[in-house]
Amino acid sequence: MNDLAVVLASLRARRLSTAITAGSVAIAVALLLTMLSLRKSGFEAFQRGSGNTHLLVSADSSPLVAVLNGVFYANPPANPISWEKYNEIRASFPYEWAIPTQHGDSFRGFPVCATAPEFFSKFQPVRGEPWKLAEGRYPEKSFEICMGSAAAAGTGLRLGQQVRLTHGAGSDHGHEHTEYPYTVVGILEPTGSAHDRAVFTDLDSTWILHAHDRREHEGIEGMTTAADLTDADRKITGILLRLPTRPGSDASAAIQQQFDALRRDTAITVAQPAQQIDRLRGIVGNIDGIFIALGVAVLVSSGVSILLALYNSMAERRRQIAVLRAIGLSRGRVQGMIVTEACLIGLVGAITGVALSIVGGALAAAALKARIGLVVQPDIDPRATLIVLAGAVLLAGLASVLPAILAYRTPVADNLRPAA
């Protein structure tokens, strides 16, 4: 016989209490690890969307707003960029590509992005992961649309169906462009970025819609065609720019130089998406700290439950402790058994919590991808896991201090007397 056998027998004797206490530790550890894991994958999810763009040009009020609007479709950009300015910027430097985008319309609350064909052939929504079609093809002619995966799932649209877009974003009640129906020609694979919520079309058809509105106000009747477009109609809200790089590299020494050059133009706002996303992470990081603190609070409360479970069992243990002391076990050794028991509960709970967070994280990630197309890859950091494991065991050990002191002070002779 050894001390561990006595501890295990004690745990077995209080199976239900042991299981409930270990379960509370497991839930706390799983919660904390899941938060840590999602924090990391959440930050990675932020990086998705700007893809292989080096610079983003818009007429928004600040670079952060430009990225929020241009990459995350937060709001329709308020100020347009003229087609002339686009051509001027494109010609100012030998960019690898300069893709114009126009945001502002929507379909059932899903934002519409009008763009050039290069958006699908050259821009990658996630670096190293080009667009893939789930069904159909990319828009080739005017008044054709291609649906992001979440937009397709959210609207239930199928290939060949016709839709009418709404002026303005995020509302079903704006002015509907009824004269010009669009045909769904493609549905995209999920990318795990905000683009999955968007509906894509070409620039010409968007310009025609708005030119038609203008012409109606001017009292000009009849359908509007591309031939009726004026330079003023050709407006965009963003330009995605990529500079030439060496093969296999995403970096270019000219990015900062070109960023500074474009910044001198006061008519536009230029942003390096990666930098702005880092700023965004800094802001969100504070909120994330609150969640981590909550997870730690849950872990501490599970420590309290260990303390209560042990404390409540002390009355029935006194006789056992007295017997162990009577047969020669020292106070310290009996005290050590109580601490070991608590640490074992903490360890078993923590290991179960790690397993729960791995299984739960995988299930949650699969559900998020299947339901809303959000790609979150739970990634449990071994170092963080070890720290949480050690923390749970340490906390359990601390929780056992008071019961261990009670065990230490148990009067042997008094507890060996037969019950009256």
């Binding site: 016989m1 050894n2 001390d3 056998a5 006595v6 027998a9 004690s10 077995r12 004797a13 006789r319 056992q320 007295a322 017997v323 162990l324 002391r325 009577a326 047969i327 020669g328 076990l329 020292s330 106070r331 310290g332 050794r333 042997v412 002779a413 060996l416 007397r417 037969p418 019950a419």
Partner: protein, 222 residues
């Protein structure tokens, strides 16, 4: 070593109760002594003093040739684990353990190799007539539980067995059987026995009777 226990000028008092003064008490190796006296006379207190579970206010207590009164508590624990066996009125077996585990518990601090604990416990139990050594003690009859308690007391090959009212909760016939068992086990183990009992009918079983009332000193308490 000729004495299992030797006490000289032992003094002990409770804050609000009686006091004990034992001028001299010696128990030879293998000797069987009855500690007589009514309930509350101080028999158990004297046993706990000998076991080192209570600390005397003065005097000397020597168990197996070692002065336990001068020892630190942890050393007294060690002497108790290696040289003293205890039998209680209500057996005090641990219900979460099997019969053999209850006996093996007494070897945990005895210094005997851990690998021998369970086999020695089984041998002892079988020698005392307990065949279901792997059964939980709560599944055994009261008589079998008594045997397990006796096996636990002699497991560490003690020099001295202290029995506190081992038959108080039994009828006369069962009490006699239990006492036979304890004395036989002590004899076979070569251990001295100091048995506290208020049952005057047991006096004939012992080589010597010591009345604890001769040790009670009210003035010590004052």
């Amino acid at each position: 070593m000729t004495h299992a226990l030797r006490m000289q000028d032992l003094r002990f008092r409770r804050p609000h109760g009686f006091g004990l003064h034992v001028p001299s008490l010696e128990i030879a190796a293998g000797e069987m002594v009855l500690l007589a006296g009514g309930s509350g006379a101080g028999k158990s207190t004297l046993l706990w003093l000998v076991a080192g579970l209570l600390r005397a206010d003065g005097g000397t207590i020597e168990v197996a040739g070692q002065r336990i009164d001068a020892m630190r508590e942890s050393d007294r624990d060690r002497v108790r684990a290696r040289h003293i066996g205890l039998v209680f009125q209500t057996h005090q077996l641990l219900p979460d353990f099997t019969a053999e585990q209850n006996v093996a518990l007494a070897l945990m601090a005895s210094g005997e190799p851990e690998r021998t604990h369970l086999s020695r416990a089984r041998d002892l139990l079988r020698a005392l007539g307990v065949e279901r050594t792997g059964a939980h003690v709560t599944d055994l009859s009261v008589g079998q539980q008594q045997r397990v308690a006796v096996a636990r007391a002699i497991a560490c090959r003690p020099v001295l067995v202290l029995a506190d009212e081992p038959t108080a909760s039994l009828d006369a016939e069962s009490g006699a059987v239990a006492m036979d068992l304890i004395q036989r086990a002590c004899r076979e183990a070569g251990a001295a026995l100091l048995c506290a009992s208020h049952d005057a009918g047991m006096q004939g079983r012992f080589q010597r009777v010591v009345d604890v009332r001769t040790f009670v000193r009210e003035e010590v308490a004052r």
